[in-house]
Each structure stands twice: as C-alpha cells, then as structure tokens.
C-alpha cells in the first residue's frame, strides 16, 4: 500500500513538473531532460533482457524503430485525415493508444527474435539480434509507405515532458515489479545457470521469450516518443550505434540493476551533450571513442558495472 503511494506520488510530481516546464519546451536543457527520459526507458527495458535474463541482445534499436514507425505512422495518417482531433483533449489518449500499438508491434517482433534465442546462446544470439536490427533497417529503407530512405516526416509533435516521464515511471515500475516477482526470479535463474534453472522446473523457453517481448514492448514505446518528438524518423537513426549506445548504458550501470541503468542513462545523455562543444571544434565524434574505451576498461576492471546488481533504494521501500 505504502509502495504504490510512492509510485503515484512520482506520477503526480511528474505532471506538476510538466506544467512548470511547458513554457521552456524548446529550450536546450529541456531537450536533454527529454532525451534522458527516453534513454531511461530504453536502458531499463534492455536491462531486463541483457542484464536480468543474461541474453545479450544487440538489436534494441531495431525494436525501437518498429515501435517508432508503427505509432508515428498511425498518428501521422490520423493527423492528415482529421487534424482537428489533435487540437482538443483527445490528442493525449490518441497518442497513448498509438504508443501502445507501436509497443505491441515491437513486442511481436520481440517474440519472433526471442524464438531463435531458444536455440542460441551468448555470441550467436548477440550476432543474430544485431543482424535482425540491420534487416529491419534495410526493410525500412525499402518501404515507400514510410518514406524509405527519406524517412517518415510530418509526424505531429505530441511528446511532452509529462508523457515521457509517465512512460519512464511506468517502465521502471513494471520492470522493477517483474524482477521482484516469481517470474523475475526465474529470469535471474536463467541468467545464472540455464541448465540448473530448467532442472528446478523453470520454463527457460518461456522466461527468455517473455523477457524479449517485454523489453521490446518498452523499446517500441521509446521509439514512438522519440519519433513524435523529432517529428521525423529515418532508418539511419536506428543503426548499430544506437543499439550500442543503449548497451553501454546497461553495462555501465550494472547488469541487472534498474537504478544503475537509470543513473547511467542520465549520465551518458549529459556526457554526450557536454562533449558537443569539443565535437564542434574538432568535427570528430569523440563520443564513440570514449564509449568504447569505457566499455573495455570497465570489463577489465569492474566487469559488473558501477552498481553491480545492487539498487540505490532498499527493496523494502519500493517493493
């Protein structure tokens, strides 16, 4: 009872904040805030797959693009037919519906990718998911209905502070509760020792696929938020580097630590912006060099990430 009050309070605080910051919605710092939120959704959802379940997926950007394209295509079509709908109070439920549909589309894709993961382990799974992300990108490049290489444009901008952080709270809440449920302990068991887990009666197949499906669902929602904020989506945005950016958030924060992912997502979003002046001077992308070095050094010195699988808050307080 006490715990649900905490989540609701966070939700309320998020909407109060929303009305305060609304006036600054095109300022630079607001933008960083918003990206940090989208990155939290991505990192926490990928953590469920890579960290908690130990299935190393490198195709998160692929799921993100499916969700983004589906939900943005829907609202763009609707917007072209009846723009009036987006003026009134109906715009929020419409956007929420589109986001959920995008999430479901991504979840279906997650199911399809999850299936081969029944037979593949470790490196093979990593490269198959990477390949899957690339296939999605190539297909999107070739589908004219969503603009092909030019991208999907004219998406109405419905993403706001409140919407993004509502998604953040919902994602964190769901993942947090999943990890602490019987199903979540099954996921952890699969990560630690698959054979032992199945000997103890864990349905490893179901666990792995469900982790993929849930992770993909939230990635799809993040894609929708991202697309509607930018008002344009191009397949090139969702290349391997995007997946990699999310992976490093999970690895840096600690595989299996939700609060670690959140902190890492915020930290990396800020780092990226902080490096921008340097990048403007040198015309070079130092970010990826720093990311990759960070990854190597982290694996050599602190392979469990900054937080390991610990959390910032005690379990009792938010159980």
């Amino acid at each position: 009872m006490k715990s649900s009050a905490g989540w609701l309070a966070a939700l309320a605080a998020c909407w109060v904040m929303h009305f305060f910051v609304q006036d600054y919605s095109r300022s630079y710092y607001f933008l960083i805030f918003l990206y940090a939120g989208i990155n939290i959704v991505l990192a926490v959802s990928l953590n469920l797959v890579n960290g908690v379940t130990g299935q190393f997926s490198m195709g998160h950007a692929g799921f993100m693009s499916i969700g983004g394209y589906v939900s943005c295509y829907l609202i763009t079509q609707l917007f072209q037919r009846s723009p009036a709908l987006f003026e009134g109070p109906l715009s929020m439920p419409i956007f929420a519906g589109a986001l959920v549909l995008g999430g479901i589309a991504a979840a279906i894709a997650g199911y399809l990718v999850g299936l081969p993961s029944l037979r593949l382990k470790g490196d093979y799974l990593a490269i198959v998911t990477l390949g899957f992300g690339e296939i999605i990108r190539v297909i999107l490049l070739n589908v004219d209905a969503v603009g092909g290489a030019r991208g999907l444009g004219g998406i109405p901008n419905l993403t706001s502070f409140g919407v993004v952080y509502t998604c953040v709270i919902v994602t964190v809440f769901c993942v947090w509760r999943i990890i602490r449920s019987a199903q979540g302990r099954a996921l952890l068991a699969v990560r630690e020792d698959e054979i032992a887990a199945s000997a103890m009666g864990v349905n490893t197949t179901r666990s792995k696929v469900s982790a993929f499906v849930i992770g993909a669902f939230f990635a799809g929602i993040a894609g929708g938020l991202f697309g509607s904020w930018l008002t344009v989506l191009t397949p090139q945005t969702f290349d391997f580097n995007k997946s990699f950016e999310i992976i490093i958030m999970v690895v840096l924060g600690g595989m299996g630590s939700v609060s670690g992912s959140i902190v890492a997502a915020i930290f990396l979003t800020i780092i990226r912006e902080a490096l921008r002046p340097l990048q403007d001077i040198t015309k070079l992308d130092f970010r990826m060099i720093i990311y990759s070095l960070m990854l190597i050094v982290l694996m050599l010195t602190k392979p469990r990430g900054l937080f390991g699988s610990r959390e910032l808050v005690k379990e009792k307080e938010l159980a």
């Binding site: 490196d123 490269i127 198959v128 990477l130 690339e134 190539v138 992976i247 190597i296 050599l300």
Partner: protein
C-alpha cells in the same frame, strides 16, 4: 547467359575475399569460442597499412608485381602485430571471465578501432593506389569480361588458404592449435604453451585479414575507417555457414555467400544485399546451427 556467368565470376571473387576474413574468425573461434568482433576492423587497418606503406615507398608511381607482394607482406606483418596487441591487452586478461564480458570487450575493441580510425585516419574515403596493374585489358570471350585483377585476387587468396591449410594440418604449431582448440586444460597439461599458441592464432588470422585488406583495396579502391564493419560481419556469417571452427567450411561458406550476394544484386534489388547475409545467418542457425561442415557438440551438464 553471359550475364549470369558474369555474376558468378564477380561472386567468386567477392567470396574469395570474404574467405580470407572468415578464416580469421574461424581460427579464433575454434580456439577461444570467441567472436572476435574486431576482426573486420583489423581488415580495415590492413588496407590502410597498405595505402600508407605504398605511398611511403612510392609504389603508387611505379606499380609492379614485386610492389604488391612487398606491400601485402608489410600489411600482413602489421596486422599480425595489431592482432597480437588486441589479444594481449583486451582478451587475455579476461581468459577466465564469463563469456558475456569477453563479448562486450570484443564489441568495445571493434568500435574503438573504427572510431579511433576516423579520428586518426580521417572519416572521408581515401583512394587506394593501383600498386599493380596486370598487363593487357579485360580477359574473356565475347560479352563476358573478367578483370585480370579479379583473377589475381582469386589466385592469391587460394595460395594463402593453401598455406594456412598447411600450417594448421602439417606443422607443430598447427598441431598445438588443434590441441588447444580441443581442450585448453589438457593441452597445457601436455606441455603446450596455450597462451602463446592463442597469440599465434590471432596473429595468423589477423595477417590473413591484412592481406584481404590490400586485395580489397586493389579491386574496390575506396577505403575508409568503417569499411571493415559489413565485410567483417558477412565473413562471420560465412564462417558460421560453413561450420565455425572448420577451415574448409569457412572457404566454402564464404564463396557461397559471395555468389548469393552477387546474384541478389544482379537479379533482385541491390539494397537488399546487406540484409541477405543476416537472413542466411538466421536461417542456418535455425535449421543447422553447426553449419554445413560442422559437427555438433553435445552439451555437458
């Protein structure tokens, strides 16, 4: 018909380059069960070593067969050194770490080489000098044209593969490599210096990638720091297709993939070319995960 034969010729020449890269993957995977993601980037560095050394010697002005051989030698030695450093600095400290950590490190090394390459070599494509131009124009009959460079690339690749086959199956080092890949612990109990053998394996694979870099520079003379990503991934697919850890399998898989790609480009849509390799990978892993020539291993509890 001529068009078809033309696609076949292009496919084989592309496939022979994939094969050189795939051999490096298969050697390393055979011995460490690690996908060396950085392998494609070693291939890229091989092309750049070739570019800068041929400029240094002035071979871009006076091409000759000797120049090609020398440049390939330099590139192979340079890449072997790079391969050694990667193994020594990034992979060896993690020999006993969980597989997923090694995998993350491999991805990190790969991205580091790519983006450090952009920083130091420049992100814009560079022109690879024609260090060797075979006498005479295109060979072939009627409408069918075969670029003599393509033939030469095929010949050199085959020679290198034969050499590798000899090393793996006829030398002491090869026997040690096969022993280590069979079982690290038993091999070291038999007095095989496993760490050194693993280093040699990396150097051997990287040298082949370096040679492939120079050959690619000859046929497709536009080189840039990200050029290794896709060939690297495709060569990996080729290695899996043939049965990873299997030297012959890697060559057959690579030629098959090269042919398939060339036919997709010729008869369907060039844009689907890059998706093909991954589709092949997913299908082969679902139907026959051990690959065409692989032998499945049963998992011990």
């Amino acid at each position: 018909m001529t068009e078809f034969v033309q696609h076949i010729v292009n496919g084989i020449s592309l496939g022979s380059i994939y094969a050189l890269i795939a051999l490096g993957y298969t050697l390393v995977f055979g011995i460490l069960q690690l996908i060396n993601f950085a392998h494609g980037d070693v291939f890229m560095l091989g092309a750049f070593i070739g570019l800068y050394s041929s400029k240094f010697f002035g071979f871009d002005q006076n091409p000759s067969l000797g120049a090609l051989v020398l440049i390939m030698g330099i590139s192979m030695i340079g890449c072997a050194a790079i391969g050694y450093c990667i193994e020594r600095l990034a992979y060896r400290p993690l020999r006993r770490a969980p597989r997923i950590n090694v995998l993350i490190t491999a991805v990190g090394v790969s991205l580091f080489l790519e983006f450090a390459g952009q920083l130091f070599l420049g992100a814009d494509p560079k022109f690879f000098p024609q260090i060797y131009q075979p006498a005479g124009g295109d060979m072939g009959a009627g409408a069918l044209k075969v670029n003599p460079l393509q033939v030469m690339v095929l010949v050199i690749s085959l020679a290198l593969m034969t050499a590798l086959q000899y090393v793996v199956f006829k030398t002491r080092l090869g026997r040690a490599m096969r022993a280590v890949s069979f079982n690290h612990e038993y091999a070291s109990l038999m007095g095989i210096p496993t760490d050194r053998v693993i280093s040699y394996t990396f150097m051997l694979g990287s040298a082949l990638a370096g040679a492939a870099g120079v050959l690619v520079g000859l046929i497709y003379p536009k080189i840039e720091p990200l050029m290794g990503v896709l060939p690297g991934l495709k060569a990996f697919v080729a290695a899996v297709l043939g049965g990873i850890g299997n030297v012959t399998g890697a060559v057959v898989g690579a030629i098959t993939l090269g042919l398939a790609e060339s036919l997709v480009v010729g008869y369907w849509a060039p844009t689907y070319r890059d998706a093909l390799a991954f589709a092949v990978l997913i299908v082969i892993l679902l139907i026959k995960p051990a690959g065409l020539f692989g032998t499945g291993r049963t998992e011990k509890v």
